[in-house]
Amino acid sequence: MVHRFGAATHGQTPSQTAGPYVHIGLMPRAAGFEGFGGEIGADIAGPDAPGQRISVQGMVLDGAGEPVRDAVVESWQADPDGRYASAADPRGSTVAGFRGYGRVAADFATGLFTIRTVKPGSVPVPVPGLGLGPGSVPVPGLRSGWGPGPGGGAMAPHLALWIVARGINIGLHTRMLFADEEAANAACPFLARIDPARRDTLLARAEGDGVYRFTIRLQGPGETVFLEV
C-alpha cells in the first residue's frame, strides 16, 4: 500500500544520517556562516549557575581509531541540584538562565570537542513502580524490563550525550559519568545496569582544574556503551 501524506498515520518517521554538513543546520558558525542568528545550544549553564564550572574535552573515534572530525555531540543534563530545565520535570530547574542543553562540533582538523558547563547534581529515581534501585526485578511485557522494587535512590551526576555524524544512520545515545564521583557511581542504579567490564567506557577522567577527558569509541575494543532510551 502506498503511503500518502495527509492520510492519517501514526508510523514513526525513520532516521537518516546527519551527513557531513550537519553544521549548517545545527551550528552555522562552525560551518563558516557569518551573520546568522545565535547558535542554539551554545550556552548550557548560563552565567549565574552555581556549582563547579567544568570543561569536558573529548573525541569520537571510529573503528580504525581515527577521530570523527565531522561529529556533532549534543548534551543534556540536570542543574547542580539535579533538576532539569524541562516542562517534563515536575520539579524544574530553579537556576535562572540554566538550559541544560548543549551542542559541540568536533574540530575539523583534530576531532577534539569541548563541552563547557557546570557539573550536574545527582538525579533522583523517584517512582517506586519504575524504580531502578537495588532489588528491581524484570517484569514481562514492560518494555523497560525494570519493575517494582525498593526504588528511590539517585543516578550519579551525568551528561546524556547524543552523537550524530556522516556514517551514523541513527543518532547514538550514551551517558558520560564522572570517574571522581566514586561514591555516587557505586550507588548509581543506572551504572549498576551496565556490564562491569564496560562501565569504564562511560567514565570521564578528571585532569584537574575542572577539566575532564572523555573518549567515545564507536566500535571495536573498548566500544562505548550505547543506549536504547
Partner: protein, 248 residues
C-alpha cells in the same frame, strides 16, 4: 528510604517505544562510511528515567525573524532556483500535535552545493542562499519554510554515486529520547531508489514517509510550489503509570 519517596514527584509519562522496524540499522555497508562508524555491540536498554523523559525547551528568543525563510535569510537578493514551500506537522505516535518544538533544516542550493567549508563540489555557491532554517511548531504542530528546491549532487561513496535532492530535518519533541534527524526527499525523484542512504531503511512504507508530496492546495499561485512533509515522533503513552507510594 521512605522520607524522600514521600516527597518524590510524579515521573513524566513514559514514551512509546522506538519502532526499530522502520529505523535503519547502524551498519549498512552499501553506505560505506557506516563500516567504521557503526557500533558492533547491541544497544543497552535503559528504562525511561527523568534524564530521557525530559528534554530542552525552546522559545521565540531562540529564533530570529526570517529564520524560517531561506529565500531571504542570507544575502541581499533572491536565490537562484525553484521557489518552494515546505510545510507539514510534527505529530507523535498517538497522532497528537507536538507544539512549540524546534524544527531545523539545512540543504544544498539549487545547484547541489552546500555553503560549508568542507564542501568542494565544483557547482557554484549562490551568494544569496545560505541553506539554514529554523522555526518552532505552532499549537497544531504545524511548521513551514520557504526555500529553493535543492539540487542533487555527487558524493564519494561508489564510483558514480549521487544523492537525491533532499533537505535535512532536525526535530526535538518533548523528550531527549525522541531526538530525531532525518531527510526529506521529493516525490518522483528517480535518484531515490538508487541511494544507499535511503536504502538503509528496509521498509518501503517508512521510505515513503520521508518522501514529501506535491501539495497544490498550499502552492502560492505565480510564486511557489509546495510540498507537504509530516514528521511522526514517538510520543508518550496515553496514560502514565501511576505512582505507587511505598507500602501501598
Amino acid at each position: 528510604m521512605s522520607a524522600p519517596l514521600r516527597n518524590a514527584p510524579v515521573q513524566p509519562a513514559p514514551l512509546l517505544p522506538t519502532d526499530w522496524g522502520v529505523q535503519p540499522p547502524a551498519l549498512t555497508p552499501a553506505y560505506r562510511t557506516t563500516v567504521l562508524r557503526a557500533p558492533q555491540r547491541p544497544l543497552v536498554a535503559v528504562p525511561g528515567t527523568l534524564t530521557e523523559l525530559t528534554g530542552p525547551a525552546f522559545g521565540d528568543a531562540d529564533i530570529a525573524p526570517g529564520d524560517d525563510d531561506l529565500l531571504v535569510n542570507y544575502g541581499e537578493g533572491d536565490p537562484i532556483g525553484e521557489r518552494i514551500v515546505l510545510h507539514g506537522r510534527v505529530l507523535d505516535g498517538m497522532a497528537r500535535a507536538v507544539p512549540d518544538t524546534l524544527v531545523e533544516i539545512w540543504q544544498a542550493n539549487a545547484a547541489g552545493r552546500y555553503r560549508h567549508r568542507n564542501d568542494s563540489y565544483l557547482a557554484p555557491l549562490d551568494p544569496n542562499f545560505g541553506g539554514c532554517g529554523r522555526t518552532l511548531t505552532g499549537a497544531d504542530g504545524s511548521y513551514a519554510f520557504r526555500t529553493v528546491r535543492p539540487g542533487p549532487y555527487p558524493w564519494p561513496n561508489g564510483p558514480n554515486s549521487w544523492r537525491p535532492a533532499h533537505v535535512h530535518f532536525s526535530v526535538f519533541g518533548t523528550a531527549f529520547a525522541e531526538r530525531l534527524i532525518t531527510q526529506l526527499y521529493f516525490e518522483g525523484d528517480p535518484l531515490i531508489p538508487l541511494c544507499p542512504i535511503v536504502d538503509s531503511i528496509a521498509d518501503p512504507a517508512a521510505v515513503a514517509r520521508l518522501t514529501a508530496v506535491l501539495d497544490m492546495d498550499a502552492a502560492v499561485p505565480m510564486d511557489a510550489l509546495a510540498y507537504r512533509f509530516d514528521i511522526v515522533l514517538r510520543g508518550r503513552r496515553a496514560t502514565p503509570f501511576e505512582s505507587r507510594m511505598e507500602g501501598t
